[in-house]
Amino acid sequence: MKENEVPQDKGNLSKSNMKELVYATDEKGNYTTALSTGWEPKTIALSNSIDEINERIATAKEQVKNGEVSPIVYFMEFSKMDIAVLSSYVGMWQWRVKRHFKPTVFAKLSNTILQKYAETFNISVEELRNFKTD
């Protein structure tokens, strides 16, 4: 990559005025560093991932609404977590966390357990228990 070809596309970084450092060659072919505001192929890749997450969140919301899963699933997706990450944050086995995905099991959970989830999601126990889907 040549220094004058370092992409300066608008992207996820330029929104917050951040620039990243890349390595490029100057006109003599010697290496130097340059700052880049973003590159389109990357922006598309990232927005692809973000769309994917938003889709997952929307699906989870729908499932909570239909009483198929507990609000824990929604907040897990909302916090960009998967079961492995969530289980290590709350300090419980994955099968236990998976069990708490069932609305019937969720309804009977103690405050102590709910507190662990609420802390992980940065919300209150009330918000977790009385999650509104609309």
Partner: protein, 332 residues
């Protein structure tokens, strides 16, 4: 309390922290040098591990490996500590700052408040330096940022004890001994040899063979998983290759910069030529990213486009195979 510390922006966090900490201790060493001697160039494909619901592809070795190899090859002593108690972790860090030691930390990215939201994933192998503390904040030098920044006491505690894969467990590290004279030449040769060995490894998921393996898998993705998932996998791969930290082209440009610097130190003209060749290969990786992004942008449904980019990847792998053989010959 603030320690005198000079912040330099870098492409990759781990090299950047290593380079910044060593520069601060009077050892002037560039980011590409750290990367090259630490054998940072790598490729591994782990289809059985899923990251963000896509097979894991990494262009770098395990977190911490670069700095550890660098330290070993230059005869530096690095102290690393992990903690089970959050209170002890804070105490140890504060103690260090009191003794004027800027300290490197492994942290999770998800709660780094100064990152744009889009970049806050559950990724735990980020590195930064803490160089001071005020009533409310810690002073942070994050090498991927242009300038220094801060985190509140609570925020820093949270990122140090992020959970999930590669959980940092409060890990902190700092150089405790730097020899008066270092043998840069032999360290460079060791670093290059290690990289050639990794990239030409006779294992199907590592190095050049790993790249070929991915290429053959790309052909199957649309039929096996459907285009939606195939596109998601491709997008993830491009992110690993190009996102903040790689300096572009899956670290190939940083490596080319290292070879150029080494050519002067080792007085080896051959390395300069190879540096140019690596740059050309890096450009091919960029082209691959461009074409891959076209695939997942247009959501094209023909199976043929996947074959086209797989061919492109295979071509890169073949060129790298030749390249690393030449590199190996150039330093032996």
């Amino acid at each position: 309390m603030e320690i005198n510390f000079t912040h330099h922006q870098s492409a990759h966090c781990e090299n950047g922290v290593a380079s910044n900490l060593l520069k601060n201790n009077g050892l002037n060493i560039s980011e590409p040098m750290v990367f090259g001697i630490g054998s940072g160039l790598f490729f591994v494909y782990l289809p059985f591990i899923k990251v963000n619901y896509a097979p894991a592809i990494s262009y770098r070795p395990m977190p911490g490996a670069i700095f550890n190899k660098l330290a070993k090859r230059l005869g530096l002593k690095i102290k690393r500590q992990k903690f089970s108690s959050e209170a002890n972790a804070t105490k140890a860090l504060d103690e260090n700052l009191k003794n004027n030691i800027p300290t490197g930390l492994q942290v999770g990215v998800y709660n780094l408040t100064y990152f744009p939201d889009e970049y806050r994933f559950h990724f735990n192998a980020h590195n930064l330096v803490v160089y001071g503390k005020t009533e409310t904040d810690y002073l942070i030098s994050d090498p991927v940022m242009e300038t220094v920044t801060t985190l509140t006491h609570q925020e820093l505690n949270k990122v140090r004890f992020a959970k999930g894969a590669f959980a940092p467990r409060g890990q902190m590290y700092y150089p405790i001994h730097i020899p008066a004279t270092i043998d840069l030449k032999s360290a460079i040769v060791k670093g290059i040899k290690n990289t050639c060995r990794d990239m030409l490894a006779p294992a199907p998921i590592i190095g050049v063979r790993g790249i070929k393996f991915v290429a053959s898998r790309i052909r199957k993705w649309p039929l096996k998983h459907g285009t939606k998932k195939a596109n998601h996998y491709l997008a993830q791969m491009v992110r690993m290759q190009e996102e903040i930290g790689t300096g572009g082209g899956g670290f190939r440009f940083i490596y080319a910069a290292f070879l150029q610097e080494s050519a002067v130190i080792l007085e080896n003209e051959k390395l300069k030529e190879l540096s140019q060749e690596m740059t050309a290969i890096g450009d091919l990786w960029r082209d691959f990213a461009v074409n891959a992004s076209r695939v997942y942008k247009n959501r094209s449904t023909q199976a043929d486009v996947y074959n086209t980019i797989a061919d492109q990847l295979l071509d890169i792998a073949n060129k790298e195979e030749v390249f690393f053989k030449k590199l190996k010959a150039a330093i032996s």
